[in-house]
């Protein structure tokens, strides 16, 4: 098995990294370049940059952020937010990113996933899912950072997307996001059984036990975290040490 990937997620708004709860009530955390460098030095296995206003205003100012970060950071980087065309994918990859996370544009036109996979390879196409719980075993896929409803049922949606050639799923629980109260374990269990590709869970990690609970409920390839690192609740290296002491394979 590969090591469990621990992935800091940087939600970028303009020139700042921000963080909210349930993707709302955003607070400024710091500069993306500084945080990325710190997390890289601390042992991040990958980094996710999410341009959280790009879907609203249709701009991609995140490219310069990634380009600057890529000069000194030598782990994979995923970029999401406002990626709507093959030209957008190309621009993101040219800035130094390795993968693109696509949500809104895929919901609007699922074939976009296939076109991106065929043009650039499945390995760089990540389906970003913002899942909102709607009942027992039911979730709705949201877009635009949790602002827009789609009516799409998450489990059907990930299955359809997997058939279109995606290489990975970034699975964010809108309910748990920012709460530090644990991952949505039912969501993890349901989605990891529905798709054959790697799944990275996001939303709610407040400590080592939350990740351990997630791994026990489904085959997780990685966990993306934000608050726990941004607010210094547990440094990345300490989180990994904690997982190692529980017998989990992590890269130290």
């Amino acid at each position: 098995m590969p090591s469990l990937r621990i992935i800091p997620r940087l939600d970028v708004k303009g020139e700042n990294v921000v963080k909210g709860i349930h993707l709302e009530g955003l607070r400024v955390i710091g500069k993306p370049g500084d945080l990325a460098q710190r997390y890289y030095a601390d042992g991040a296995d990958e980094l996710i940059f999410m341009d959280i206003v790009a879907s609203l205003y249709g701009r991609n100012n995140i490219l310069s952020v990634v380009e600057a970060a890529a000069k000194n950071i030598f782990v994979p980087m995923t970029v999401g937010g406002g990626i709507r065309s093959l030209e957008d994918v190309k621009a993101v990859l040219r800035s130094g990113a390795d993968k693109v996370a696509i949500n809104t544009a895929a919901i609007a036109r699922p074939q976009f996933l296939r076109e991106a996979a065929e043009a650039f390879g499945s390995q760089c196409v990540v389906l970003s899912v913002e899942a909102k719980r709607r009942g027992v075993g039911q979730w709705e896929a949201l877009t635009d950072n949790g602002r827009e409803r789609t009516g799409r049922e998450v489990l059907q949606w990930v299955e359809e997307a997997a058939s279109l050639g995606i290489g990975e799923v970034l699975l964010t629980s809108v309910d748990q996001e920012g709460t530090k109260k644990g991952l949505d374990l039912d969501l993890i269990a349901a989605v990891t059984r529905r798709v054959p590709v790697p799944v990275v869970a996001c939303g709610g990690v407040g400590g080592v036990a939350d990740i351990e609970n997630g791994i026990n409920r489904g085959v997780l390839s990685g966990v993306a975290c934000a608050s726990i690192f941004h607010y210094g609740i547990l440094p990345l290296s300490a989180l990994k040490q904690g997982l190692r002491s529980l017998g989990r394979e992590v890269r130290l």
Binding site: R5, D98, G121
Partner: protein
């Protein structure tokens, strides 16, 4: 000067960043002459095998790459660039490679169990070096460090002597580092494998 082959199919920017960080001067080879004149050649590659071979063919890069390999110029293929060194690949109907290292590229084996390893193989894994580890990998080969893999197909060289290191995937052992004389391949991404990945770039630079 080291030439990074630009055929529209690789993460040239990340490789360029790593080389700049290591203060290794390089040029992008955009025509056959630049490949033939290089002291060292780096062949990146991301995407599909057949598409990459088409990219090399349309730019008339196939012959120069085979020529530099034959005359002893150190050549490093990265990820898909390593798989292209093989004789052939099963990917999307089957394609011929450069044939510089005998063996074939096949899809990674799927597992049956619920907790089987998932395809694509994405993530950090340790390298299993085949002993005895020859230079320059002996200097880095005993480290218990991980490198970053991102692939769905694996290269299984015909001769064990061409395999420097393997990784493991659902019970199979696809090549992680291959070497036949001056021709070297890394299945993982050294430009995305942290400080250890950068060391493996240096290891290639020391091959004469």
């Amino acid at each position: 000067m080291i030439a990074v082959v630009d055929y529209g199919r690789g993460n040239l920017f990340s490789i360029g960043n790593a080389l700049r960080f290591l203060e290794i001067p390089y040029t992008l080879a955009e025509n056959p002459e630049q490949i033939l004149l290089a002291e060292r050649v780096l062949l990146p590659g991301v995407g599909a095998f057949g598409d990459a071979m088409n990219g090399l063919t349309s730019r008339h890069f196939i012959e120069p790459l085979i020529e530099v390999a034959r005359r002893g110029t150190p050549l490093l293929g990265i990820c898909l660039g390593m798989q292209i060194l093989a004789e052939s690949s099963d990917e999307f109907g089957g394609h011929s490679g450069l044939g510089l290292i005998p063996g074939h590229v096949i899809r990674l084996p799927a597992g049956n169990a619920e907790d089987s390893e998932r395809i694509p193989n994405i993530g950090w894994r340790k390298l299993h070096f085949r002993s005895p580890v020859s230079e320059p990998f002996d200097a880095v080969g005993d480290q218990k460090q991980s490198v970053y893999f991102l692939h769905s197909y694996g290269f299984f060289p015909a001769a064990a002597s061409d395999i420097v290191a393997t990784t493991s995937f659902n019970g199979a052992a696809p090549a992680a580092i291959v070497r036949r004389g001056n021709v070297v391949g890394y299945q993982f991404h050294p430009e995305k494998s942290g400080a250890y990945g950068l060391e493996l770039f240096r290891a290639f630079m020391s091959i004469r």
